[in-house]
Symmetry: C2
Subunit: 340 residues, 2 copies
């Protein structure tokens, strides 16, 4: 059996890569939320000086990567691989950012699971001996997502209470072979799970079974339980999906409710910010992790967490053709120190 496999679907990294730097850029609404002090840049205008929201999103992703590199005086030629994806058709935010950066690039599509999808691969490339430094990044933008997946904003359509608000935000995480932590230590890769939800305005419910599947496989594979973690954060099930996930996990013998949160709940104040069930989008768990949670590691408030970014793998075409919404969730464990 492959030396780093434990259990069925989890790998334990042998020489856990260290996070060297992160950066986040968010939109005005996110900059008014409870985590506003943890983002590097808060845009005053979500066009970010560009002529379209799509160009603005690509610029956010590119600038988040540049900022993360600048923080540690890293130049693109020292980076072995860039892993990125986003929600836009043909992941143009990522591709156009990769064009400017010139780093060997693996384009990903995992919908809102992209943060942990990209970090999983970026970490394994280092632990596998293929790279010294890698970057994982992702973005989303409320306005570009709305017009691509739902309606033109000018349409002013009503949003049901189950709907989520796509975060305008980008996060970049730089990983290195050598570093002082926090470290990526375990990876449990998602399977596509579909419980037959067909309502594109209830994506939290569509993704919850996938999140539960991955968390349960992780706990079984590693022998950990909720007590082993300071925090287990999904992203982005929001209010409704979160409750469903906790229930499924409880039915399978694990109670994680005391340690569980969701990036879509953390990034907005649900009582005042009119985001209905909470935030969503690739940029949501990226901004919460690369901004808030990373800072909590650096200030010694966290020792071990699991991030489980969740994606709804629908397209407008698949929905029109009557398909239900498959979900996927990739889990990674991050620890302040290793080798003890």
């Amino acid at each position: 059996m492959a030396e780093k496999k434990i259990g069925l679907h989890t790998v334990k990294l042998k020489n856990p890569p260290s996070i060297l730097s992160t950066a986040t850029i968010v939109g005005p609404k996110e900059g008014q939320g409870p985590l506003k002090d943890y983002f590097d840049i808060i845009l005053e205008d979500d066009l970010f000086g560009e002529k379209s929201w799509e160009k603005a999103e690509s610029k956010m992703l590119r600038e988040a990567v540049r900022l993360a590199m600048n923080k540690i005086n890293l130049t693109p030629d020292k980076v072995d691989y860039f892993f990125a994806g986003d929600l836009l058709n043909q992941i143009i935010s990522s591709s156009f950012a990769a064009r400017e950066l010139g780093i060997p690039f693996f384009g990903l599509y995992g919908a809102c699971s992209t943060l942990t999808e990209s970090m999983s691969l970026a970490a394994m490339m280092i632990d596998g001996g293929f790279a010294d430094i890698t970057i994982a990044a992702t973005s989303s933008h409320f306005s570009s997502a709305e017009r691509q997946f739902r309606f033109p904003l000018e349409h002013g359509n009503q949003r049901p209470p189950t709907s989520q608000w796509t975060v305008t935000g980008a996060g970049a995480v730089i990983l290195g072979k050598e570093g002082n932590g926090p470290y990526v230590t375990y990876i449990t890769t998602g399977r596509v799970v579909d419980f037959g939800i067909t309502d594109a305005n209830n994506m939290g419910a569509a993704m919850a079974p996938a999140a539960a599947d991955t968390i349960l496989r992780h706990l079984k594979d590693t022998g950990f339980n909720a007590a082993d973690y300071d925090l287990i954060m999904t992203g982005d099930l929001a209010k409704i999906g979160m409750e469903i996930a906790v229930d499924i996990i409880k039915q399978n013998g694990y109670d994680i409710s005391s340690k569980f949160t969701d990036a879509g709940i953390e990034i907005f104040d649900l009582s005042t910010q009119d985001v209905h069930a909470g935030g969503s989008g690739c940029g949501c768990s990226a901004a919460v992790f690369a901004g808030y949670l990373y800072s909590q590691f650096m200030s010694g408030n966290l020792n071990r967490i699991m991030i489980v970014s969740t994606g709804a793998l629908l397209s407008p075409t698949s929905t029109q053709q009557g398909e239900s919404i498959p979900g996927i969730a990739h889990a990674i464990t991050i620890e302040r120190s290793v080798g003890i």
Copy 2:
């Protein structure tokens, strides 16, 4: 430096994974082309018994994977990771195939570079010690691609001579830690390169600089030249892009013309099949490699080849917003035997 890195951007696998099995499914037009004897299944109807071309494409991808598994009596529970992507928005062909297979899944978007993008990652996961068996797969479908990227087929639009014909086809490649070859031995990962081409009907020209960039970096990193290869196959530059790539490479001191071909040229008979500059689509290099070239390894006619799948990273939105077309190309070396 990471132990498997050679040169700037190439890795040399330490324990090269073996290809264990491949399978291909193609459409009726591809089944009339010069490689018709090398495909496992040739569809009589490109709807493949489904109600939409998108569903048909997803079924092709899924059935190609199943067929490749059946050939070696492999069940999905023995597969560690599934890497796949396609051209459809939100890669629904791949996601829905992954839903049926239940294998931990990394969704990719590399446009027509997906064969070698997925094989690169699938191979590195094994060599890195994370997996025993992985699957790389991709698909494309003329009819689903036309209506998504260009015009509804009912529109009957004219195609300029530089245009390429999206292959209806899917290919799956199963890689394993143990096997009798051929083996994946070197990987050179693509950077996004953009020479400012804005004509979405001339994608070969848009991708040629990326192909040249990757091939040149590979040759410099490894010290190889054309004589070290039986064949260097891009996919899919087609007639016009191929000439441009050969020229750029020649200007940089390497003459690969005697060993060079392109999957878009191989899969169709350009003189009789009315495909203009040649084939394209993720399924093109996938079908040519997993069908024809794999059989040539098995019958001992090939010893060492390089496959360089090339992707045009445009979207209809980026084109409408005046962006040029960035390209990317991922190269992998495949050898009949290793360790001599």
